[in-house]
């Protein structure tokens, strides 16, 4: 069968990110291009050079397309423009918040990472009275915070 690029995008919208399954790989902004010819070429931008999820994501993409009857799948890794948290769309940020992870707070700049003064809103109660517990969370992309209002710990998706 011949799929259209739009159909392929639809199928990819159902492929979850292995580390944050509430987001699909399209939410995360790592699907850069879909090209349909004799084979279907999907261009993916890895989030970090050493992201252990990269290979898992590639396999999930291949599996998803096979499940929809596409036999010949080519995965292309693209490095530029590099992935940053700016590629996460507004809708996806809201999904993150509902899931309990505070979304990246604003646009990425070179100094963004060095600015530890910004206030992060608690994804549960919305209070900005939060305190950084650990800058290095369970994955490279997350930091651990605690809300001093509702006292719940939460994760913050760092701007990178």
């Amino acid at each position: 069968m011949t799929a259209t690029a739009e159909q392929v995008y639809d199928w990819l919208r159902a492929v979850p990110d292995p580390e944050i399954p509430v987001l699909s790989i399209t939410d995360l902004g790592i699907v850069r291009d879909v090209a349909v010819a004799d084979e279907v070429t999907v261009s993916l931008a890895p989030t970090y050079s050493g992201c252990p999820a990269t290979e898992v994501i590639e396999k999930s993409v291949i599996d998803a397309l096979h499940a929809n009857g596409v036999e010949n799948v080519v995965i292309r890794r693209v490095l530029s423009p590099p992935w940053t948290t700016d590629w996460i769309g507004d809708e996806a940020r809201e999904k993150l918040r509902i899931y309990g992870i505070a979304p990246p707070s604003d646009a990425v700049g070179k100094q963004g990472l060095l600015d530890s003064s910004r206030t992060i809103a608690c994804p549960r109660c919305g209070s900005t009275a939060s305190a950084l517990v650990s800058e290095f969370g369970s994955t490279p992309c997350k930091a651990a915070y605690r809300c001093t209002e509702c006292l719940e710990p939460f994760e913050y998706f760092k701007c990178i």
Partner: protein, 256 residues
């Protein structure tokens, strides 16, 4: 003026050096995994090591393409002998204590981040692309190491004294970063690569500032140490690669 083949050979050598630096520092960081004093540091170190492994893979894959002899990233990482690795000697030194590890990260990453930043403007597109990705990661690593460096240096009498010795011990290895050879010159002249003289000035400024913030003093200039890029390693290197290559050497072609 060198021929096109000479330029390509220099590019390949340069990319391999980048790969070797990333792989060897990663290996030393991996040795620290499960040995950190607290969970936050455990995660930071392991995640940073992963970034370096990722970078080494990108550099080695690209080297394989440039060389065009069918060598894979694993072949470069695991199937070469000591003399073929061209990492800086600093990176292969034994881990020592936490302060040693932090001083090593500060000295190397202060250089590496400048090197990558310059490489983002290289005329070699693939190398520039990898540099953009890696620079963001290393800037982040450096922020972590620099915070600890200041905290240890400006901390207790004990931590200050220990980290001052670390700085004294590792300082001599940093001269190797700036010892330009023919490969560096070709990169600068033919691929818009870094000018090591410019990098050295900036590095001196950046590191001096950090050293002052940490209430430490810059060590005296000491005898220059180099040889890593010619494959002349310290004795620690043999032990390092013996462990690193064990699986691939004992079970050639193994996959999992």
């Amino acid at each position: 003026m060198s021929s096109k083949a000479d330029k390509q050979a220099a590019l390949l050598a340069y990319v391999l050096r980048l790969g070797d630096n990333a792989l060897i520092i990663a290996q030393r960081m991996i040795e620290r995994v499960t040995n950190e004093a607290e969970l936050e540091e455990e995660l930071a170190n392991a995640n940073f090591a992963l970034d370096y492994i990722g970078q080494a893979r990108l550099f080695y894959s690209y080297a394989g393409k440039l060389e065009n002899k069918g060598r894979s990233e694993d072949d470069f990482a695991f199937q070469r002998d000591s003399r073929e690795y061209c990492n800086f000697l600093l990176l292969e030194q034994p881990n020592g204590h936490f302060g040693d590890a932090i001083v090593r990260q500060v000295l190397f990453e202060s250089f590496y981040v400048l090197q990558l930043e310059a490489l983002t403007r290289s005329s070699d597109e693939r190398l520039a692309e990898i540099a953009v990705r890696a620079e963001k990661e290393v800037r982040y690593h450096l922020r972590h190491a620099a915070q600890w460096f200041v905290r240890l240096g400006d901390g207790t009498e004990f931590s200050h004294a220990r980290v001052a010795v670390s700085l004294q011990n590792y300082w001599r290895f940093a001269t190797e970063f700036f010892a330009a050879d023919a490969v560096d010159e070709t990169m600068r002249d033919s691929f818009d690569g870094p000018d090591l003289k410019v990098l050295e000035k900036q590095w001196q400024l950046d590191v001096s500032e950090l050293v002052a913030d940490a209430s430490l003093s810059l060590p005296d200039t000491v005898a220059r140490v180099d040889g890593g890029r010619a494959g002349l390693h310290s004795e620690h290197f043999g032990y390092l690669i013996a462990e690193m290559q064990h699986l691939h050497r004992s079970h050639p072609g193994v996959t999992w």
